[in-house]
Amino acid sequence: MISSSSSRLLDKIRAWLPALVLSPSFAAILLFVYGFIIFTGYLSLTDSRLLPSFDFVGLINYQKLLGLRHWNTALKNLAIFGGLYISICVILGLLLAILLDQKIRVEGILRPIYLYPMALSFIVTGTAWKWFLDPGFGLEHTMQTWGFLDFQFRWIKDRNMAIYTIVIAAVWQSSGFVMAMFLAGLRGIDTEIMKAAQIDGAGNFQLYRRIVLPQLRPAFLSAFVVLTHLAIKTYDLVVAMTNGGPGRATEVPATFMYSYTFTRSQMGIGSGSAVIMLAMIASIMVPYLYAELRQGGKT
Amino acid sequence: MAFLDIIGVTKRFGSVKVLHEINIGVEEGEFLVLVGPSGCGKSTLLNMIAGLEIVSSGEIRIRDSRINEVHPSQRDIAMVFQSYALYPNMTVGGNMAFGLEMHGISKSERQALVKEVAELLQITPLLDRKPSQLSGGQRQRVAMGRALVRDPDVFLFDEPLSNLDAKLRVDMRTEIKKLHLKLGTTTVYVTHDQIEAMTLSTRIAVMMDGHLQQIGSPAEIYQLPSNLFVAGFMGSPPMNLIPAKIVNGNDGIALHVSLHSGEMTALNLYQPSPGLLNQVGREVILGLRPESITDPDSADRNSPANQPLLNRIIITETAGSDTFVKTMLGGVEITSRMRGDSEVSANSDASLVVDMSKAVLFDPQSEQRIS
């Protein structure tokens, strides 16, 4: 009798083991991610300045936030930056992957060249880009000393164009990674399908547009998720390249949030901007996650 | 009480019932084949025997002790999977020895057992290879070896031959049959291929939509399918199912069937059950195997109930040993099996012989066999 009840206990443990093993990770995520999100949400409703305070003030911080001119600038910049960055990375990554998939003899050398920027920290590559784009001693200067006296490239100094230089550097960092994802996707496609399509008379362009690209859907999705995540978190790069300038022309939500929370001692407003950022991330990610989970449920 | 008892087993996923009160008893040494179209629940039942799925209600017993709650590894069963499920990171030898190792068998003993089984299956030269270096047939053998080496109470096979090409499948089928004859281990084998079912089994359980349709020896299943589904599913080509009507014939009761021309003909029932005698006028479905509607030369001369029939041939299909001939009977297209050298041609009338001693009748509404 005793042995049977103890073996039943063992069975119970066995049944619960997976959940049990998963639970520490899950508990950590609940506390360190969702607990902290709630905490931030609460802070955004308080008069916290230098350090967290728990005096409730309602929605005043949000009112202030929405009235701030460069919060709007930051959002607008994120839209421009995010849109361009994601689409250029995807297009460039895809193009490189397709080109690299044409039995290129030096692929082994080219691939790491395209990939390595992802390995570097922006604390200094940002500086290198800043140098390179600086008209005084960078590309423009070099081209002029080479005799192209009319050559001009001063976007980084131009209030209206500076955000695009950030796009250039950011694309530089991540497009190689996207290339790797697409390359992996391409290598996973059944070659017989491609042969069949060629026999069916599809031209090169048609072949890729109609046959290959639709099969890269998972790679597109993964790339999109990774890029969105990077776009929204972009912080180091902006700080290293323009520090939000010229003026405040390249402020993005991440730099905004950091500066209000930590530099300006307006933790309440900073938290408010964080909450809005999270809401934006959620609005993009939740549909993706939903699709992901539904698919997971089927298998 | 049988060796392996499946008693009133039901499986629910949420509110969906996928298995309905299955009752099967498998005797020791028997080779039971679970057959049915995909989605009929046969694999689920197999997995429940293995302990890989929880039994929603009912009981599974081996040697008369309940195993519902027993961990898969303690049930003393071994299983061969459709995809073979060979551990990709281990050698063939490692794959075969893994289960023994898990059961705490010493290394030297493991080596001896693996060697023995490898020789039996003629895979000794493969023992040091990785699964990725093997052909499909070799993998199949290794998968069987892995199961054999455990010397279990019960073997479970989950569509083990469906990933092989046609020739290999036939060879392996024979191989499995030989092994079973030699070892005599109780086996439950799942397949959707009715030929495999017929050739391998000592008994067949036909399933559909989570219900057990019929269980019996291959001959029973073939000769006396218990309902229209079994009749249509088993046999290749399947049993002809011909709408007919019971009438009073010149010699007892008979069945009225329409010919190609639309004329009606009467086929006398051979030893009809007494219950049918007063059911004149009832619509039934007449089940006849293709070989029971054949040319006079091929007919079974020993049959007590051969009846001639003249009908128009629609098309003939030559298959070497047999020729299949299509005709219209009872308003449906039916298949006859004739000798390979029979000289019939399309669009001509030919005389056929119907062996009414092999006829079975079904009720069109309940679809059950009328005994």
Binding site: R49, K130, P135, K157, M241, G245, R264, Q266 | -
Partner: protein, 417 residues
């Protein structure tokens, strides 16, 4: 792998040792952002001094954004209940922290050493708010300086401009001669540094105090302020096209390399000249921003002491005394380019510019013309400072005209209060 093991073993041994020892080791942990050669070397003087008194110096440098990173780190450390012993801090950041009740009380040491008598009141405002000494000031930087290339001045026969008009005349001449008249880096704090000086020069000391320290609405919205913005726009005409985002030291290099005539920058610029082997008076000139003579805009680096356990108090007090010792103040400021926070120390160890700075500081202190620099966090809390930067930078980059800038400024300051 072996090395890793050895390190681990050593670490373990160290743990055993330290937990086994009975006497609490005297040690201080100092969070600061002086990481470059000169200033770090200067700080090393302090470290050596403490070590000679048996106090271990645990260095916690976090550079970046004039202490922005360090302040973030500080917040994390204080929140974790793991505050450093002392933290380098500027102006209003100190006052912000003094309100949080996490700082130490240095009154005992201050009394013994008579700090009250030797530290200018304007600095005491930060080091001793509400009657309690919480920080030891290290230095005083002055921000209303002009740094000029002497060769260009000689070549064009220019003398040091003393008034705004003279300045403009000089700038015009430099520009006409084909040099960049004004070396400048378009970063918010650099724009702010120039703005500070222009406010002081245009409105005079009282106006500066009203607008930049007291945040008086009338002053912020006044016509004088409009003139200030007009003058900023005027200066904008003397910078090169590439100024945006340039680091201040690159701008200084332009003056050093005879590409540009002048730079308006704090006294730390001197370090760049010195490290390029240039001599004050011979290769470069330092003089007060025209029309601001006699007044000094300052920012002062201070070591703010955080409340630590009793056993760390003696070490902390030793650190405070060391910081305030004349020897350290001399040694440090000689390297750093700033002047001494103590007004009673012999300044002859400093170079010519430094000596002048020390004299200016004493005089300005006496005549109440020593003001906290807005651009460097000594004029107003950081929220307001940033708001002012927003407007100044936007205007300097041509986002709106002077009249609009005045309105924006008043509104922004109001909103950030």
């Amino acid at each position: 792998m072996f090395k890793l093991k050895a390190t681990l073993a050593a670490a373990a041994a160290l743990c055993l040792f330290s937990s086994g020892s009975v006497f609490a080791e005297e040690k201080v942990e100092v969070l600061h952002w002086w990481t470059s050669g000169g200033e770090a070397a200067a700080l090393n003087v302090l470290k050596k001094d403490l070590e000679s008194q048996g106090v271990t110096w645990n260095d916690m440098p976090v550079a970046g954004g004039s202490g922005v990173q360090a302040m973030t780190v500080l917040r994390a450390r204080v929140t974790a209940g793991n505050a450093p012993t002392a933290v380098q801090m500027l102006g209003f950041d100190i006052l912000d922290w003094s309100g949080e009740g996490v700082l130490a009380d240095l009154n005992k040491v201050a009394e013994e050493e008579n700090w009250d008598a030797v530290i200018p009141d304007a600095i005491k405002r930060f080091a001793k708010p509400e009657g309690v000494w919480i920080a030891a000031p290290v230095n005083v930087h002055s921000t209303n300086w002009v740094w000029a290339n002497k060769a260009i001045f000689d070549e064009l026969n220019l003398k040091q401009p003393a008034t705004w008009d003279e300045l403009i005349t000089s700038l015009d001449k430099i520009k006409a001669a084909g040099y960049i008249a004004m070396a400048h880096g378009g970063q918010a704090w650099q724009d702010g540094t120039v703005f500070d000086s222009v406010v002081l020069a245009t409105g005079g000391p009282e106006f500066y105090q009203k607008a930049m320290n007291e945040l008086d609405e009338a002053a912020l919205g006044s016509d004088t302020m409009k003139t200030v913005f007009d003058r900023m726009a005027q200066l904008r005409g003397y910078v090169d096209d590439n100024f945006s985002g340039r680091d201040w030291n690159l701008a200084t290099a332009m003056v050093i390399n005879k590409e540009a005539g002048v730079q308006f920058m704090g006294d730390w610029a001197k370090g760049e000249f010195l490290s390029a082997s240039k001599k004050p008076g011979e290769d470069f000139l330092c003089f007060r921003f025209p029309d601001s003579q006699g007044a000094v805009l300052f920012n002062s680096d201070q070591f703010v002491m955080f409340a630590v356990g009793e056993e760390q108090r003696p070490a902390q007090e030793k650190l405070a005394m060391s910081v305030m010792s004349p020897a350290f103040q001399q040694a440090f400021n000689k390297v750093k380019g700033s002047v001494m926070a103590r007004t009673d120390v012999d300044a002859s160890v400093l170079d010519a510019c430094g000596q002048q700075g020390q004299v200016d500081l004493a005089e300005a202190n006496k005549s109440n013309k020593l003001f906290g620099s807005m651009a460097h966090g000594h004029g107003a809390p950081s929220g307001i400072k940033s708001a002012v930067f927003d407007v100044v930078t936007a205007h300097f980059n041509g986002e709106y005209d002077s009249a609009a800038a005045v309105e924006e400024l008043a509104a922004a300051v109001q909103a950030a209060k």
